[in-house]
């Protein structure tokens, strides 16, 4: 798989609005940077690709937490929040629930997708951080022994599964904490408590998803 294809996939970490508007331009700019770096050899090209990918991961995480402004600040989570926000004191309360605080039915799919997006960002950020730490320790040692750029890249790639074994559970924890904090902030959690089976409907899909990830990791 080429670096540009990996980059195109990584762009999915960014909000849909930003990706749709600037995705092709970002890809073109990344390809240009990569082309320039390739002139210096294979190692500079690999480092440039890693820097470009890290930039997407970092920006993706930042876009998740930064407040949106105006129409141009379209966020990936906005339609979901509008659909499911049931805070009786919130901005959608009057129109969304004129008859009182009845709980809309968040689909399990919507919940799992929200968690999956947070998991992807957390997993990429944690794995990239630990991989960078690993690289900072191992690359000088490998280079001192005369290892080629290809061997160094291979050593880093082989470290990914080992690092993932640690970062997957951490990313699951981060994703669940983050999403439930957001559910609490927009009032969904409070309304779910007032409903019969409300909490169960929120928790079961998440537990099932987390169990699925755990089972996959164990296998």
């Amino acid at each position: 798989m080429s670096w540009t294809r990996v980059y195109r996939l990584a762009l999915h970490l960014l909000p849909t609005g930003l990706r749709r508007k600037h995705g092709p331009a970002m890809e073109a700019a990344f390809a240009r940077e990569l082309g320039r770096a390739r002139a210096g050899g294979r190692l500079p090209a690999t480092l440039a690709a890693a820097a470009g990918l890290w930039d997407v991961v970092r920006r993706g995480a930042y876009e998740q937490v930064r407040p949106a402004h105006g129409a141009a600040g379209e966020r990936r989570d906005r339609p979901w929040q509008e659909r499911w926000s049931i805070d009786a004191h919130g901005p959608h309360a009057a129109g969304a629930n004129p008859g009182g605080p009845t709980m809309p039915q968040p689909t399990p799919r919507a919940l799992v997708l929200r968690h999956a997006a947070s998991f992807a960002v957390a997993f990429a950020a944690l794995t990239a951080s630990l991989l960078a730490l690993f690289a900072s320790r191992q690359v000088p040692a490998l280079s001192a022994r005369g290892a080629s750029a290809g061997t160094v890249a291979e050593a880093l790639l082989l470290a990914v599964p080992f690092i993932s074994a640690m970062t997957i559970p951490m990313a699951v924890l981060v994703a669940v904490l983050r999403e439930f904090t957001r559910l609490r902030a927009d009032g969904t959690l409070a309304a779910a408590r007032r409903e019969r089976d409300g909490l169960r409907r929120l928790v079961v899909p998440v537990l099932a998803g987390a169990a699925g990830v755990g089972a996959w990791r164990s296998s």
């Binding site: 970002m26 700019a29 920006r59």
Partner: protein, 106 residues
């Protein structure tokens, strides 16, 4: 103001520019010290537009001789004021630095 916002505003302060032209200009302005990778560049451009400091140039207002699909950005009046404020702040900070260095001697 974030340092890369400052450089982006500085880059478009004289004339409208598009993404990769801003990227190259910022690298040159900063002597290679600031390298804007694509996600940061385009994300920051969106943020600056939301902030009201930049605006996209309409198709019929694009600089002469430029065709293609690049989105051009130009600085707005609030953007220019923000840039001036930041430049004044940096200038005063540089003045303080010079004074203290002079006091330190050696």
């Amino acid at each position: 103001m974030k340092p890369h916002w400052f450089f982006i505003l500085l880059s478009v302060s004289a004339a409208p520019r598009y993404g990769t032209a801003i990227q190259d200009d910022v690298r040159e302005l900063s002597g290679g010290g600031v390298r804007l990778w694509p996600a940061t560049l385009y994300g920051s451009l969106e943020e600056l537009v939301e902030q009201g400091w930049l605006e996209e140039v309409a198709d019929d207002e694009r600089p002469a001789g430029i065709s293609g699909r690049e989105r051009f950005y130009r600085i707005t009046r609030p953007g220019r004021l923000a840039l001036e404020r930041e430049a004044a702040r940096l200038e005063s900070l540089a003045g303080v630095a010079r004074q203290r260095l002079a006091l330190g001697g050696a």
